[in-house]
């Protein structure tokens, strides 16, 4: 494992690929490797790309990566596609739209399957990002699964989140619904050469006008959830980020320069003042909560005998016990088991 870490820090692509496999498989030997790499992370700018299936996320990632390569920056890409809940298999097809990037040793593309995670990313995507970060990639693009309205993990992971829309996917009411549109730092209307693009842009602008800017600068982490901070002083001069709406035609590389400009402005906004420090603390707190939750339930399930657990399920099914009181009973049983 030490050799692997040295190789990663020296930029070995094979080593990066192998460690991401260990990370995805949640192998036990990963923990010391991540510890060793962690001090080398925190340098990359992580850009999340999310949006409904078919809006052109992969083509957009292809275009963005090319633009950063023209600036001589090293680009890592993590593309997430869904795992079948029935078979555990997956088709990872995002590379098809990224063939322009092949043959460029300054780009590293890795496909990940969600493996049961529901928030739009795999549970291990954060650690895969860290491997690329430690290996020296300047920009890391993370493409989520085709997301609907609530797969918002990406906002807890990326520094700048792009939400990609396409013309003809919904009316103005879609635009004011809660969820994915609220998490955008930059809104992208891709396929802007199609009919209805202007209408989509107007609907998004209207959403931005009638709501307060959906800025995470006013959010705080509270028990692992993002919660809006009460605005105590209404006449504040504090700068606010209002997500720009950028039109692109990814397959023709139209609008990519403007998009890169908008990402850069967002980055400068975040990095001015103490905002990036505060946002990082927020991400760390949320991640800790998520990992703790995961670890606690693992430990609980390991300690609880399967027969006992099955018995509880029987009782719930026979209407002898309701799910909430079942949880109380399981926890009481667990506490008794660990104290004895």
């Amino acid at each position: 494992m030490d050799d692997l870490i040295t190789a990663i820090l020296n930029g070995s692509r094979r080593a990066v690929a192998r460690l991401i496999t260990y990370v995805s498989d949640e192998s036990p030997q990963v923990a010391p490797a991540l510890m060793a790499l962690y001090p080398h992370t925190g340098k990359a700018w992580v850009i999340g790309v999310t949006g409904a299936p078919g809006t052109g996320k992969s083509s957009l990632v292809n275009g963005i990566a090319k633009a950063y390569r023209a600036q001589n920056l090293l680009v890592g890409i993590i593309a997430v596609d869904p795992t079948s809940p029935f078979t555990g298999g997956a088709i990872l097809g995002d590379r098809i739209r990224m063939r322009d990037l092949s043959g460029d040793s300054g780009v590293f593309i890795r496909s990940m399957a969600t493996r049961g995670s529901l928030g739009g990313l795999a549970r291990t995507t954060r650690d895969a990002i860290r491997v690329l970060d430690a290996a020296g990639f300047d920009i890391i693009l993370v493409e989520t699964v085709g997301a609907g309205q609530s797969e918002v993990d990406i906002v807890r992971t990326a520094h700048t989140t792009l939400v990609v829309e396409a013309p003809g996917l919904g009316d103005e009411v879609q635009a004011i619904k809660a969820g994915i549109l609220e998490i955008a730092d930059v809104l992208v209307v891709n396929k802007a050469d199609r009919p209805g693009a202007q209408k989509t842009v107007s609907a998004l602008r209207m959403m931005l006008d009638i709501g307060h800017p959906a800025s995470r600068t006013r959010m705080t982490a509270h028990h692992g959830q993002l919660v809006a901070i009460e605005n105590t002083h209404t006449h504040t001069d504090e700068p606010m980020w209002i997500p720009p709406v950028i039109q692109t035609v990814a397959t023709d590389e139209k609008g990519i320069a403007e998009l890169i400009g908008a990402i850069q402005q967002h980055r400068e906004f975040i990095q001015a003042g103490n905002l990036s420090v505060a946002l990082e603390r927020q991400r760390i707190e949320i991640e800790l909560h998520e990992r703790l939750r995961e670890a606690l339930i693992q430990r609980l399930l390991q300690t609880t005998p399967p027969d006992y657990f099955m018995g509880i399920i029987d009782q719930i099914q026979q209407r002898q016990l309701d799910p909430q009181n079942a949880v109380t009973a399981i926890l009481a049983n667990y506490e008794q088991m660990i104290s004895s």
């Binding site: 094979r14 298999g89 997956a90 990872l92 590293f108 496909s111």
Partner: protein, 137 residues
């Protein structure tokens, strides 16, 4: 048995018939594999690069153009040059019987013609991947 088998399904060369590759990709997905599907007209360099970055356990090539005796050795050579000697190749498509011994000598671990039962392909892949990981231990 390895839990999450990752396989690259690629179509090298110039023929545009990807139905077979898609049927196989879908069957492997249903068998619980993670299938990295790269689409048509992949060069040997693109295949080796994808195999490396995706750290796949095995590479499946679909060739219907008749160019397998040129493409397969070239792909093997580029993969080996990228330290992917331990990643086995399997082959699907139209492969005449008389070419099979030579392809096997080049290290092709399985050749599956039209009409092959997908369950057979799945069990063969499991066996090949298990063999390889035995060699690594």
């Amino acid at each position: 048995m390895k839990k999450n088998i990752r396989i690259l399904i690629a179509k090298p060369g110039l023929d545009g018939h990807d139905r077979g590759a898609k049927v196989i990709a879908r069957a492997l997905r249903d068998a619980g594999f993670e299938v990295i599907y790269t689409g048509l007209r992949q060069t040997p360099e693109m295949i080796a690069e994808a195999a490396l970055q995706e750290d796949v356990d095995i590479v499946g090539l679909s060739i219907l153009s008749g160019a397998h005796m040129v493409l397969v050795p070239k792909i093997r050579e580029v993969m080996n040059a990228n330290e992917l000697n331990d990643v086995p190749i399997i082959l699907g498509g139209i492969i005449p019987d008389e070419d099979k011994p030579a392809l096997e000598l080049m290290g092709v671990k399985g050749i599956f013609g039209p009409g092959t039962n997908t369950e057979l392909i799945v069990s063969k892949i499991h066996a090949i991947v298990a063999d390889e990981s035995d060699l690594l231990v």
